[in-house]
């Protein structure tokens, strides 16, 4: 068995914005990765690993990349890595997005939710799906990876909080507005928790049924939670879910997710 543990070499670290970096790692052997999966990386000097969505990977080159925003001490330290450094990674972790063929999929991204959605859009396009991307950012300076998204998308719509690029407003409003035009079979979303709550309100009634005007679509969201292990043993990254069957339980974001059917997600107050 190949353990999901790798000692990887940093082969590139570039800044995408003043506070977002892209790191590329070289592996010796390469696992099978599914779009939407994440890695959990040990940052020297910290006891808990830091989870990041996989943004790019190449089985041929045995490389994997992730993009990270500076948040606290861990990401600050990670940004100090140098090409040639070795880092200890657990990967690939989590379930990833559904792999479907020849359908219409809307991608909805808020801020740094962008990263795991990039290989997802690529994979979907390669599998013959029509991909409509709705990408939300705070402003023009934060709007990154646009060309890469456009390369995999039938249409790409951008929204910013201040209107400095694309439409002024929220992607969650845009997807509702454009829904009839594109009639997506699936919506795949990643972003801040507030965005998921908005999607839930927009697409579902108070008794949690899909509103009739959206019939026929399924919405999947990739969630974030503070985690300890990343592979399900600690039960630290809980998410309340309620299944169609009535089964009501605490799922683990790291291994039952991070991708969940939005219908099943319960946002506790």
């Amino acid at each position: 068995m190949q353990p999901k543990h790798y000692i990887a070499n940093v082969v590139a670290l570039e800044s995408l914005t003043f506070n977002v970096f892209k790191m590329t790692l070289q592996l010796k052997t390469f696992p099978k990765i599914k779009p939407g999966q994440f890695l959990n990386i040990k940052v020297p000097g910290f006891s808990l690993r830091r989870p990041f969505g996989i943004s790019h990977y190449s089985e041929k080159d045995k490389t994997v990349s992730f993009c990270f925003m500076l948040k606290g001490d861990g990401t600050k330290e990670l940004a100090k890595a140098k090409v040639g450094d070795t880092l200890d990674v657990l990967m690939p972790l989590g379930n990833g997005f559904l792999q479907i063929k020849n359908k219409t999929v809307a991608i909805v991204s808020g801020g740094i939710g962008l990263f795991p959605l990039l290989p997802t859009a690529k994979g979907l396009a390669e599998a013959g799906n029509k991909v409509h991307s709705f990408l939300g950012f705070t402003n023009k300076d934060a709007a990154i990876l646009l060309d890469e998204f456009k390369a995999h998308s039938t249409s790409t719509t951008i929204a910013t909080d201040d209107g400095s690029i694309g439409t002024k407003g929220y992607v969650t409003d845009l997807i509702v507005k454009e829904f009839d035009k594109i009639k997506p079979d699936y919506i795949f979303a990643c972003g801040p928790e507030g965005m998921f709550k908005t999607l839930k309100q927009q697409f579902f009634t108070a008794d949690n049924t899909l509103k009739p005007q959206f019939a026929g679509t399924e919405i999947y969201v990739s969630l974030e939670q503070r985690m300890a292990c990343g592979f399900g043993v600690g039960k630290c990254c809980n998410q309340h879910v309620k299944l169609e069957s009535g089964d009501d339980h605490m799922a683990r974001v790291c291994c039952d997710g991070p991708v969940f059917n939005l219908k099943e997600v319960v946002f506790d107050v």
Binding site: F46, S47, R226, A228, C229, F231, G234, C236, N238, C255
Partner: protein, 302 residues
């Protein structure tokens, strides 16, 4: 596999002294599927098990600390009957002795959990007395009388080896250990997590959803070593040592202060592959130091 690391304790055979700590291994399937065959552990341990299904605490349940972590999972588990049906067969299949970590909020709860386990082929019980006692408001394990009461009650209904897992959040773990020994325990394990909290200065709120939690990992090792030593000197029954073990040297330290077996928790979560490494390193160390049986070092502190 060589027999150098073999242990015989509680009438059970362990191929090495390493057992996963409860709650850091779930019920074994994840480590087995993603990292290494779990039969390499000397013994196996369940997550804390209660009478009924428990949903646990609100998020966030974990916070990082200097050289450690805080958790407030709140004993999320599917309940003893589900465990027996869905998890125990997998653990038993591995061939290493299997412990169940039994929890409760009343003596009656413990009796139900252990009573159900008694009917199975599980090898041993680890009684987690760090759970809050609804009658006292504090954990059972903070009061020698309450420990004696629950251990005596459980002792009457089980013939299986009964290990009592102590909380470090007391003035004298040795005193509590003696109470457990008097009540018929076959062994003592310690330490459970140390009470602690983390604060977010931006929100001015505790980081953990439960406000406070338990500290584990490298940060607690010195505390654990002293407590294991104090308990080792106070009781005649075997002691299982844990708290912050990261490598084979830590295991040797715990054995020198009196541990017959050890458990690894936080490190198993943050660095799962360190387990096969510890086993190999420990064996090499024994060879280099001409140790034929680990009993030679247990309690060997000068």
């Amino acid at each position: 596999m060589s027999k150098l690391l073999q242990r015989k304790v509680f009438g059970l055979e362990f191929k090495n002294p390493i057992i996963p700590a409860s709650g850091c291994f779930n019920m074994g399937k994840e480590v087995d599927a993603n990292f290494f065959p779990i039969k390499i552990f000397g013994g196996l341990m369940s997550k804390g098990i209660t009478r009924a299904n428990r949903l646990g605490n609100p998020a966030p349940r974990v916070a990082e600390t200097a050289s450690g972590m805080l958790n407030a999972v709140g004993l999320q588990n599917p309940g003893v009957d589900h465990f027996i049906k869905h998890d125990l067969p997998f653990l038993k299949k591995q061939g290493s002795p299997v412990f169940a970590n039994a929890c409760g909020n009343t003596v009656d709860d413990y009796l139900y959990v252990v009573g159900q386990l008694e009917k199975t082929n599980i090898d041993a019980i680890e009684l987690n007395v760090s759970c809050p006692n609804v009658k006292m408001g504090l954990s059972f394990g903070t009061d020698a009388g309450a420990v004696e009461e629950v251990v005596s009650a459980v002792r009457k209904i089980t013939k299986k080896p009964l290990v009592v897992k102590l909380t470090p959040n007391v003035t004298s773990p040795a005193l509590i250990a003696k109470a457990a020994e008097n009540a018929g325990a076959d062994g003592i394990s310690l330490i459970n997590t140390l009470g602690g909290m983390a604060v977010d200065i931006k929100t001015r709120k505790p980081v953990l959803g439960n406000r406070a939690g338990g500290l584990s990992g490298a940060a607690v090792k010195p505390v654990a070593l002293k407590m294991v030593h104090d308990v080792y000197k106070a009781v005649k029954i075997p002691v299982i040592g844990l708290g912050g073990i990261q490598n084979y040297k830590d295991i040797i330290e715990f054995m020198l202060v009196g541990a017959t077996l050890v458990q690894v928790g936080t490190t198993l979560m943050t660095d799962p592959m360190s387990i096969p490494q510890m086993i190999a390193d420990l064996e090499n160390w024994c060879k280099e130091n001409k140790i034929k049986n680990l009993d030679e070092i247990v309690g060997g502190l000068l």
